[in-house]
Symmetry: C2
Subunit: 430 residues, 2 copies
């Protein structure tokens, strides 16, 4: 694995390459996706069936075949082995407990002149979850998207997932049953996003669409943003690791690889203050690679998008990491909590040697849907508020309008909005 | 003003027309805006200067002329009359106090096995505010966009505003001085959004762009979403009013008009349970219209997009209003707070006869940047969290990984991610 040093003469250039890591080329597929969306808006279910025939290679026939039956979900759930069932339940419970702590509360505040101001928080009526299908169907994605919606109090949760050759991933169905998702549609790609954004005869229009997907799905989500809300536009997965001289190279190496095995486009970056840790980790990566089931993918990712940076101080290391703003950040140092105040930009922060990133993918509790490609500078992890929205509350008493009304009318006059001013002044005591 | 009744045979059709109120035709201008963005990305400041010459009709010359000096802002502030200054300060203080109540806190939570989970909340590094310019420059827009960013703790706040014929709105400058915004650029339209999203030699790349604007600005915001975060995509302004037999028609009428005077595309909808209130309000609207400074705009808005609906019960009225999901909702009934639990979708809710909507535009405290066109079903008012983001925190003890690790590894195995499983298992005690 490539090792670079912040003192290298070409470091700035190398670091720019790291920062310019895989961004989804949304522009390239925009016109294709726009056409797909238009087809769904115009032809609804019939367009869905055409797209399924073309991309997933099966013929839907009548509308109801788009829907997976609750019975199938129940069977799938009952068929999974006990250990897995126990693990799924443990994940479910822990994810639910964490997201319950995020729940915002409505509030009211009272002023002495009789003014009442506040904020009412409510769930959206309907959420649409997109879950990739086929071989890459991850039941954990279903848990991570459904549970925040459940905790938010969303009454109707709809799932779309592609079923290539009409084969459904049984584990995904089991997870849907566990989460009590009652409507799962066999629809994938940009078509699914368009169907949930605009509605068809079978698939209801939702208010919010969340969930991972390929470049077509990401582009469709961006294009329907405004018609519905979306969580974020995500790209390939990433890990950043801050390591000092106390970090164990064989932990660091497998953690870097756990990200690299996702995708050839995934990026795994470690910044360490210790030359020896850098060298040993690089060797360990090579060792582990030989025995990985997804060796080819991981190797390509490590070679093309991985790097170990040796920094001259932890301060410098953190500064660089804040610029990268990684999706996942492991802090593998002696006193990781002491560094927490200085970490500004990261999707999820994993502290200490017993906290490998995959713990956060499945079982810790926080969401694994995280901002990628430096967007942790402005996006948050998927959370209950993605499925909620707020309304401001304002109530003025007679006293309050008498006290504050004229100042309001003066501002309205200044902006030339005389009906605004008048609507206040008609209420003022003469 | 048109009065319709929910019992009318064509009511459903009429109501559909109301719901299909002015949506911004973003698609129509997308390709123009895409070209503008491409020009800014390619040519930076030079493209900005070309666009300013074309649209705002003045020649910038050297780069520094894009910036308004702090001195000019200070002068503008010192020149405004005392009453207005007092009103501006009152607005500033109240808006600040309200938004301080919204501030989310970071938190940590501890489990008995040594697990620590939490959420760290941080401000974005840099925010870009777009404020329309020229005659329609509203200092209140500046306050409403800058104050949440200030309260969130954003270190660098940048403002872009167009200055047609190089004439700057003095009140806007005064408001910028009051808010201590140090960088105000004379750049408007889609070019300004592109400049803040991608950065130019003079204008820094920001993390979040907020603020109102025309269809070109709205489209540009949608197109740069993902490169930066944005608040929402807003359309024409709207008011919905729920009124019972106790509501005063001359209040209702001027409140409807205060919305109508904004824009011919604005929509003003009242739903009342009382025939007489409907008839009298319609007459009062006609009376007020004759003396409005913006009569022509308001009349067109009321005639083409206004309606009074007579409902057979308050329950029905609320149900219809939730479907409309108005930007502003006035509840002009005897006991407005009793209806609050049933109101699901509205940007801001104004309760009781002393609370006209314009109070919320200027002085009450809550933000006046609100979701329009039914998007209150999923968007929130502009708030401090638009300028903040969260990072999840996860720290496992040796005990915790021993207790939960195997369940995690089982789930990873199930998904075929063996490096994920391995990164957990290497840490488990044998």
């Amino acid at each position: 694995m490539k090792i670079i040093n912040t003192k290298d003469t070409n470091f700035n250039e190398e670091f720019e390459n790291i920062q310019a890591r895989a961004k989804s080329d949304i522009k390239g597929v925009s016109s294709i996706v726009m056409n797909i969306i238009d087809e769904i808006v115009t032809d609804g279910n019939e367009a869905l069936k055409r797209h399924i025939s073309k991309f997933d290679k099966w013929e839907v026939g009548s509308d109801e075949n788009l829907l997976i039956s609750l019975d199938d979900m129940k069977k799938a759930y009952e068929n999974i082995d006990d250990n897995l069932k126990k693990s799924l339940h443990m994940a479910y419970d822990r994810i639910k407990a964490y997201h319950e702590k995020q729940l915002p509360k409505s509030w009211l505040d009272f002023e002495e002149n009789g003014t009442i101001l506040g904020q009412k928080v409510t769930a959206v009526d309907r959420a649409g979850l997109y879950i990739p299908g086929g071989k890459a169907a991850y039941p954990s994605s279903l848990l991570m998207n459904a549970i925040p919606a459940i905790v938010a109090g969303v009454k109707e949760i709809v799932v779309c997932t592609p079923t290539p050759n009409n084969e459904v991933n049984e584990l995904l169905l089991a997870a849907c049953y566990l989460c009590k998702v009652s409507k799962v549609y066999k629809v994938g790609g940009a078509s699914a996003i368009a169907a949930m954004a605009y509605g068809t005869k079978t698939i209801p229009k939702v208010d919010v669409i969340t969930g991972p997907g390929n470049i077509f799905v990401a582009t469709a989500k961006k294009l329907v943003f405004g018609e519905v809300n979306i969580d974020m536009i995500a790209g390939p997965s990433e890990i950043g690791i801050l390591a000092d001289e106390t970090a164990k190279p064989h932990y660091l190496a497998i953690d870097l690889l756990s990200q690299a095995e996702h995708d050839e486009m995934a990026s795994s970056i470690m910044i360490t203050t210790c030359d020896e840790v850098a060298t040993l980790t690089s060797k360990e990566v090579e060792e582990y690679l030989k025995n990985l089931s997804r060796e080819e993918i991981a190797r390509k990712s490590i070679e093309e998008r991985g790097a170990i940076i040796v920094a001259s101080s932890m301060e410098e290391a953190i500064k660089l990491m804040n610029e990268i703003a990684p999706e996942h950040l492991e802090v593998m140092t002696k006193n990781p909590f002491e560094l927490l105040p200085y970490i500004k930009h990261a999707g999820a922060i994993f502290l200490g040697e017993n906290t490998p990133e995959p713990i956060g993918d499945y079982i810790a509790g926080p969401n694994h849907t995280l901002p990628t490609g430096s967007t942790a500078k402005f996006y948050s992890p998927l959370n209950v508020e993605n499925f909620m929205k707020k309304s401001s509350i304002i109530s003025f008493s007679k006293n309050a309008i008498n006290e504050l009304g004229e100042a309001c009318a003066i501002l309205a006059d200044t902006e030339g909005l005389t009906a605004h001013a008048k609507s206040v002044r008609v209420r003022l005591e003469k």
